[in-house]
């Protein structure tokens, strides 16, 4: 099986400071990988490098494209990369307002992404938008409301609908449940798990919440000071952590 994403020696520096350094891994179709670490550990920098938002200073990010097979997205042309980010890739931001157009209706937010890949018939777009609102448990009567009138949890679900409507194969998520209260988080986790299974998605999830990765991710990578210090099966890394830093992370979780 060809990996969907092959990451080779990816580094990004902020001047003399390390953002992330020498990151290597393969992600296979259907796999969900969590990336954990404290603030400043380089996990968001890494995610942004992989998603094409930040240019890596070294390394390759090889994605198995539908048309041409494995292709380095770092050296590919800007239009080709943008096409990928509209079709096969999706990016779920921590703050829904970074991933939504707040002045456009909920239906419009979903429809816009469809139009970007060529959908033109209003009836089809509206029907798909309605279908996706249902899937993320937003009442369809809200289709013409603007996201600014939605709660935080609804905005986050709308962002997910907008991202997944084009049937991407790889989803980047930056703290998807951050800032939501726990009951809303549980609902979102359940939703994401269902979508990952039904659509056979691969996902990279950056979070500092170990409970979230335990429930969502098959594999886990632990970062500290820009380096990957440990990686493996999620339950193995959490239950039998090998690196001093991972042991500290796991033992620092408060018990409810």
């Amino acid at each position: 099986m060809t990996p969907l994403l092959q990451v080779r020696d990816v580094s990004h520096f902020y001047g003399a400071r390390i953002g992330c350094s020498d990151v290597n891994f393969d992600l296979y179709p259907g796999e969900v990988m969590g990336i954990v670490g404290e603030s400043g550990s380089g996990k968001s920098t890494l995610l942004n490098c992989l998603a094409g938002h930040l240019p890596p200073d070294t390394g390759e990010v090889v994605f198995d494209t539908r048309a041409d097979g494995p292709t380095d997205t770092v050296t590919m042309s800007e239009p080709a990369r943008r096409m990928l980010s509209r079709t096969d890739w999706a990016f779920v931001h921590q703050h829904a307002r970074d991933g939504l157009r707040m002045s456009v209706s909920a239906g419009g937010n979903i429809g816009e992404r469809l139009m970007a890949v060529g959908a033109r018939r209003y009836g089809d777009i509206r029907a798909q938008a309605t279908d996706w609102l249902g899937r993320v448990e937003i009442d369809e009567s809200r289709i013409d409301d603007r996201p600014s009138a939605f709660s935080g949890g609804m905005q986050q679900r709308l962002q997910i609908a907008r991202n997944l409507v084009t049937g991407p194969r790889l989803v980047f998520m930056d703290e998807p449940t951050g800032g939501l209260d726990v009951s809303v988080q549980a609902r979102l986790l359940d939703l994401l798990r269902g979508l990952v299974r039904e659509m056979g998605l691969s996902a990279l999830i950056v979070t500092h919440d170990l409970a979230v990765v335990r429930l969502l991710a098959d594999r886990l990578m632990v970062m500290k000071d820009g380096y990957v210090v440990e990686s493996g099966l999620t339950d193995q890394v959490l239950d039998d952590p090998q690196h001093a830093y991972t042991q500290l992370l796991v033992s620092s979780v408060l018990q409810v």
Partner: protein, 229 residues
């Protein structure tokens, strides 16, 4: 060929945040379980029964040695190979149920089948059958098991572990906290799994259950590291 084959396995824990203390728990553990065989891990509390079982599941990392289940060496395997093994071949009934909040019990039990690509109605029917057998009232099926009693959670966990006919099964205290009737049901499930050819490794503090089900016992304290005199 043995379904589960363990040789020369050692394990120690290094506690980096407690002065780097190294605690050796196992040395040169070897064990082999054929299809259709049920083997009990015995030994006092703290002898390493659960540790060994967790290593067979890939939940703990072995220091050295080989742990081969159905041809896959868990000590060397990639995460995705271990996940595929767990999905298709290797079942594990732990002592604790860990689920996503809000997911209904019926769904929790059907999940291993859904992950194998079994159609939703077949998976749900099979889950319902097991929940009935394990006496979980139908009124509870649509609720999340997080609010259930300890015994009910344990039975949901067992239903989940038996919903797919795994060729290899790891059972950690499957009859703990069960009443007489439910204990009998669980013993029957284990016996059925064994007769369809599953290789079973179990920890049973319940001596009667152990005597009834198991072909042999392995004393895990034999694998304890030799302490320096």
């Amino acid at each position: 060929m043995a379904m589960i084959d363990i040789s020369g396995v050692s394990k120690s824990f290094t506690l980096h945040n407690q002065g780097g203390a190294v605690i050796g728990v196992m040395e040169n553990a070897s064990l082999s379980v054929a299809a259709g065989e049920c083997v009990a891990l015995a030994g006092a509390s703290g002898a390493g029964k659960s540790t060994l079982m967790r290593m067979i599941y890939g939940n703990y990392l072995a220091g050295t040695g080989r742990i081969v289940v159905d041809g896959v060496d868990l000590v060397q395997a990639e995460p995705r190979e271990i996940l595929a093994l767990r999905r298709e071949t290797l079942g594990y009934v732990s002592q604790f149920l860990r689920v996503v909040p809000r997911v209904p019990t019926l769904q929790v039990v059907a999940e291993p089948l859904l992950a194998l690509g079994v159609s939703a109605d077949v998976a749900v029917a099979r889950a319902a059958e097991l929940l009935t057998r394990l006496r979980i009232p139908e009124a509870l099926w649509s609720l999340s098991p997080t609010t259930f009693s300890g015994g009910e959670q344990q039975r949901v966990n067992i239903a989940r572990g038996f919903v797919h006919d795994y060729p290899a099964l790891l059972l950690d205290e499957p009859t703990a906290s069960l009443d007489v009737k439910n204990r009998a049901t669980v013993l029957a499930l284990i016996r059925e799994a064994r007769s369809r050819g599953a290789a079973i490794v179990g920890i049973f503090h319940d001596a009667a259950a152990r005597a009834e089900l198991c072909d042999r016992e392995i004393d895990v304290s034999a694998f304890a590291p030799q302490r320096a005199a």
